[in-house]
């Protein structure tokens, strides 16, 4: 039909009066009344964000366990791989397809230093005990550091929280860790760590990568998210805090996380929960391309002719045709 003008295309078709501007104005008014009305009566979600201070005050043991894990290199961010670090075999890949590796470490984050050591070093002024502890940690061998973090992590499983919010564990050989963690917890509870994690050497700051990675390593924020049904296995992408709809248009994307092989540890064809993010992004890209190219794909482009929904849509046209 290329090159055919509208006049030629519509030749022989009965035309009816139509007011495009009036239709648009009515639509604007109708949708506006609906949106304004729902906004006035239902409002919108705004659950306050979690701070490092709130985390340390509400769940100090989780906070200290996470910080210890950063030093031990056992947290998610410490062993994440690209783009934060080059942890071996951590990046997602599917056969030779490994875009996470291809683009390298573009947002370097050293979890132990960024989340624990550097904030503590900023707090050593006027605190000789902490200064000594940090220096002892840095001077210790990797073996000693590993033994201390192992023992301290195990002891934290039975930790007690005092009335002042401090965390105590049973006696053991933890090296300088109790002093370091007591100080880090104190900084966190006061709110100082919220600021220290955002220090970038510049006054203005809009990048929350370090603080969010650190909070993501802990269990506190994740637990709250579970209460709001935001987890991946709760179809969380479609949900919001409170009784509000989330990104419901992501239903297909989040559905794939609930089904085989993306929800399986063993999987199939090299796809499993371990590389589900990569696999689902590839799948959704292919499906989106297929949707865009429907006019060129047999069967998909023929379905509308087979399903008589168009007869309902153009009922008047087909009725007139039958009469004729």
């Amino acid at each position: 039909m290329k090159g055919v003008t509208q006049e030629e295309y519509y030749r022989g078709v009965r035309m009816a009066p139509y007011d495009l501007v009036k239709e648009l104005v009515i639509a604007l008014a109708g949708v506006g009344i609906l949106a304004l009305g729902v906004s006035a009566f239902v409002s919108s979600p705004d659950e306050p964000p979690v701070t490092i201070a709130a985390w340390a005050q509400s769940d100090p043991v989780d906070f200290v366990t996470t910080a210890t894990g950063e030093l031990a290199g056992t947290t998610t961010s410490a062993g994440y791989g690209q783009p934060y670090n080059s942890a071996a075999d951590a990046a997602q890949k599917w056969g030779p397809i490994a875009p996470q590796v291809w683009f390298g470490v573009r947002i370097p984050i050293d979890s132990a230093n960024a989340f624990v050591i550097q904030p503590l070093q900023r707090g050593v002024t006027g605190n000789p005990q902490l200064d000594t502890a940090v220096k002892a940690w840095q001077a210790a061998s990797a073996d000693d550091q590993g033994k201390w973090t192992d023992a301290y992590t195990k002891a934290l499983a039975d930790a007690k929280v005092a009335d002042d919010g401090s965390v105590t564990v049973s006696d053991g050989d933890y090296g300088p860790l109790p002093v370091m963690m007591a100080n880090l917890l104190g900084m966190a509870r006061s709110g100082a760590l919220d600021g220290l994690l955002q220090i970038s050497g510049r006054f203005y700051q809009t990048d929350y990568t370090p603080a969010l990675l650190f909070m993501g390593d802990g269990g506190y924020l994740d637990g709250l998210a579970g209460n709001w049904n935001l987890h991946g296995d709760q179809w969380g992408m479609m949900n919001e805090t409170g009784q509000y709809p989330g990104q419901t248009w992501l239903w297909l994307y989040t559905m794939w996380y609930q089904v085989f092989p993306f929800n399986s540890d063993s999987g199939a064809l090299g796809l499993s929960s371990a590389n589900a993010d990569l696999g689902i992004i590839i799948l959704m890209t292919l499906l989106t391309a297929a949707l865009a190219l429907v006019p060129l794909i047999p069967i998909l482009r023929d379905i509308p002719r087979w399903v008589p929904l168009h007869r309902l849509i153009w009922r008047r046209y087909y009725t007139a045709k039958v009469r004729a």
């Binding site: 078709v13 109708g30 979600p45 705004d46 964000p49 969380g236 992408m237 989330g246």
Partner: protein
């Protein structure tokens, strides 16, 4: 020095005048009676055609409320009841925009609206849907509340796994906010205008032939 008739250049011929050529091309491509028609084929009276115009109407409300929110800054709506109202208007306009857009998409699918040389119009529509999802996603990341924190922490794995996270850092509020209030809305608006111009240029597709003779 007085100009003589010899110094005055002759009017440029039609083929040499770029402005005239552009104007005539636009006149041929989209005459005003096609852009703003007062008559349409009688079968356009179906209710399905309403989904397109209400999607545009919802987009207008999204943009208007978004402009107010961006003018007042990202913190305003957390501390002001008027700001909260405008955020609610933005939130619900977006929800309506997606509901209407999906209904429009399915309606056009079952009408096989890509027929008779309209495949590019369909393709642009699907691209609008994709860019709108990305725009809404950056909006959810820009809320500065608990939801945006958790979405950022989880979405980073999908972005990083696909290699996108190296350039599109969902944990970087500044980057997400900038994309949400500037580049992506411009992209959606441009694509929607393009889509509408294509629809108006070619006109509304005829009904599927009862005998199935009308194919793409």
């Amino acid at each position: 020095m007085d100009a003589t008739s010899k110094d005055i250049p002759e009017p440029a011929g039609e083929s040499a005048n770029w402005t005239l050529r552009v104007r005539r091309y636009i006149d041929r491509l989209l005459p005003m009676d096609h852009l703003l028609p007062d008559r349409q084929p009688y079968y356009v009276g179906s209710w399905v055609y309403v989904f397109g115009v209400v999607t545009i109407a919802a987009l207008v409300w999204v943009v208007v409320s978004g402009v107010v929110l961006s003018f007042m800054g990202p913190q305003w709506w957390h501390v002001s009841s008027l700001g909260r109202f405008f955020n609610s208007l933005h939130f619900w306009s977006v929800q309506l925009f997606f509901i209407f857009m999906v209904l429009h998409l399915w309606g056009q699918y079952f009408m096989a609206s890509w027929r008779d040389g309209r495949a590019a119009t369909w393709l642009i529509g699907v691209v609008i849907f994709g860019v709108s999802i990305l725009t809404a996603f950056t909006g959810y990341l820009s809320q500065q509340n608990f939801d945006s924190q958790f979405i950022a922490i989880n979405a980073k794995d999908a972005m990083n796994g696909a290699g996108i996270g190296a350039f599109f850092n969902v944990l970087n509020f500044g980057q997400m906010y900038g994309l949400h209030v500037m580049l992506l809305p411009i992209g959606v608006t441009f694509l929607v205008v393009w889509h509408i111009v294509m629809v108006r240029t070619r006109g509304v597709v005829k009904p599927i032939d009862p005998e199935g003779a009308s194919k793409s």
